[in-house]
Symmetry: C2
């Protein structure tokens, strides 16, 4: 069944919206109160471009929370569980933002623009409200606001060649998550080696929203020789690559999870000097050992087409985990999924999941798999 | 152009989701990270039922933030600009939640369940994050969480008769925004005289999400004699009635507004004892006089079909306001809209708006109108 989405004034448009419409966008979702393209009607071609060429994505809905002022570094330390003391200007870091219980409430990329200015490039929750409230209540002298910044991603093995054509050879030396303020045909932007895929690529953080259509078309034109085409963050590739999807893999209150369970222990620095929010709770969780761990799943049976909501993983009739998202991987010729499983699961556990609602259950057996799949 | 929306695991489903699918929902939007029905394919019939009969709406996406504990009343006072000192148990109040600049960040209905337990029944922004951060940082001894509560609205002139059939004659004495904990065929819920229309009606706050399908079908069955049918919050009726749509009429950062500008001065109590967030800023705004005020608009020319985003209102080529949302009103046989206009506008100002994008502008002249239209 297919449902329509109404384009109305209560949800924001990305600066690239008109560009995606001109290029034949067919479906949208909503992310950070903004329309985000879901597909352009050619799932095989979109996947293929990401894997073998270069795809361009309107990820303007990945909004920035700018933290700017005397206490900017201190507030960022208070919000993020990662030790950021060695972060350089021009460097991005993947960070976890937790609540006081140690549950993940966002997993942004933090960009350090200068010693007093940071962007949190956020997943789908209102971290601006969280950061503003903490800043005011705890007396941090900072401005917390949303700047006019909207990323356009180019992703895929040919993205680097395209970026070199657009910006110059220096791009090849840009390390992962590092960035530089620059421009393209006079359009101001921040170029960062980043993006929600494991195929390599960049995000062009447009810093003048009035020039979105122009940037979209400039990138498309320059990419013709690489047969660039439009696409969108790709669920199949992200499951194959084991990327986290905040919202699908965890979200309060339906499926809360802490960073240890989600495999983000490497960005939780309990021994740092920072008194970050959630630290006390995470110390307790670390001491007790997390009850669940992140895992891949392989599902038997006919090809799956995706799932509408996370599903319980069963051992007999006991829930021992959650299957967050599934897909059919053409590369692996397998049904694969991603989710959480109890850490104390016996090795010979026989696992099942019901993919369909009553009255016609569709039980599949599951085996665990290491992440990433590919 | 019509776009599809993908139903996937990163956005939540309401407990009534399956019920709306069975009843032929055709479009969804996303509100508070949850799918919310947009239409059932019969716009005239849906409007007609709301105006002349009874419509049932899945408004489960109107989530609750529960504030519970010793300091619950104090935290609610800190968050809301309204003097709540006389609020009784069983009473709801329409409230404004502002940031420190006095800008509206949500306009919930507050339900006082007992002296230590409140629900904020929220519009589309993550007020749970805001409330949690304030509570922790400022040391309020409360639990802030999202309870298992999802409203189903029955709206329209026959909604009261239906509610009496379902719950008994006591319903007729329930005052506006007052509520009572009760049940229907054993399904636990809170019945409140409320809803996002001016046609009268109730919201059934289901308190056991596993029973959503059952409640949906029970209400539909009992409503057959009133020719009940499914629908969704109706933009035409809300503009006619002058209701606020947080997201369309204001939203940070694109179109911020303070409660005075939005016509919510009656729920800002600057003389109360409460030190609510935003009070200092709102005192300054009140002293200077707000720069804009809420107004209706009448647009000339052919029938409009709605707008995709808020549009600047022009006097010559000077922006003097914003037209947030437009619709064609069959009852008025007019194009009408809602928005904000400069308070110092000369009486004889000639106003225009461009409804279309370049290269084919569609200029309309505008006249101001009092709200509500009807």
């Amino acid at each position: 069944m297919s449902y329509s989405i109404h384009i109305g004034p209560n949800i924001r448009k990305s600066p690239f919206f008109d560009g995606t419409v001109a290029d034949g966008v067919r479906g949208f979702s909503v992310y950070n109160h903004m329309y985000i393209p879901g597909n352009f009607g050619d799932p095989e071609g979109e996947y293929d471009r990401l894997l073998n060429g270069v795809a361009m994505w309107d990820v303007g809905a990945e909004r920035q929370v700018e933290i700017w002022g005397k206490d900017a570094a201190a507030l960022v330390d208070r919000l993020c569980s990662r030790d950021l003391s060695k972060t350089k200007v021009g460097q991005g870091r993947y960070v976890a933002v937790c609540n006081h219980k140690g549950q993940l409430i966002n997993d942004p990329v933090l960009l350090k623009l200068d010693d007093h200015r940071y962007w949190l490039s956020i997943a789908d929750s209102d971290i601006q409200l969280w950061a503003e409230a903490v800043a005011h209540a705890e007396g941090f002298e900072v401005l917390v606001h949303e700047p006019d910044v909207s990323p356009l991603a180019i992703q895929g093995p040919l993205a680097e060649d395209l970026a070199v054509d657009l910006f110059g050879d220096w791009v090849r030396d840009l390390k992962y998550f590092w960035f530089r303020e620059t421009e393209l045909f006079g359009i101001p932007l921040v170029l960062c080696r980043s993006g929600w895929s494991k195929q390599g690529g960049f995000e062009l953080f447009l810093t003048d929203g009035t020039r979105g259509r122009e940037l979209w078309e400039s990138v498309r034109e320059a990419g013709q020789q690489y047969r660039i085409g439009p696409g969108a963050p790709n669920d199949t590739e992200r499951i194959e690559s084991g990327l986290l999807s905040y919202g699908a893999d965890c979200r309060l209150p339906d499926w809360p999870a802490d960073p240890f369970e989600l495999g983000l222990g490497h960005i939780v620095d309990l021994d740092s000097d920072s008194d970050f929010i959630g630290k006390a709770a995470l110390k307790e969780i670390a001491a007790a050992g997390p009850e669940r761990r992140r895992t891949g799943f392989i599902l038997d049976g006919p090809k799956v087409t995706g799932n509408e909501h996370p599903m319980p993983v069963l051992k007999g009739d006991e829930t021992v985990g959650v299957l967050s998202e599934i897909t059919y991987s053409k590369r692996l010729e397998k049904n694969i999924g991603i989710g959480l499983i109890a850490t104390d699961l016996p090795e010979d556990a026989f696992l099942t999941v019901d993919l369909a609602a009553e009255p016609d259950p569709d039980y599949r057996s599951l085996t665990l798999a290491d992440l990433p799949f590919l």
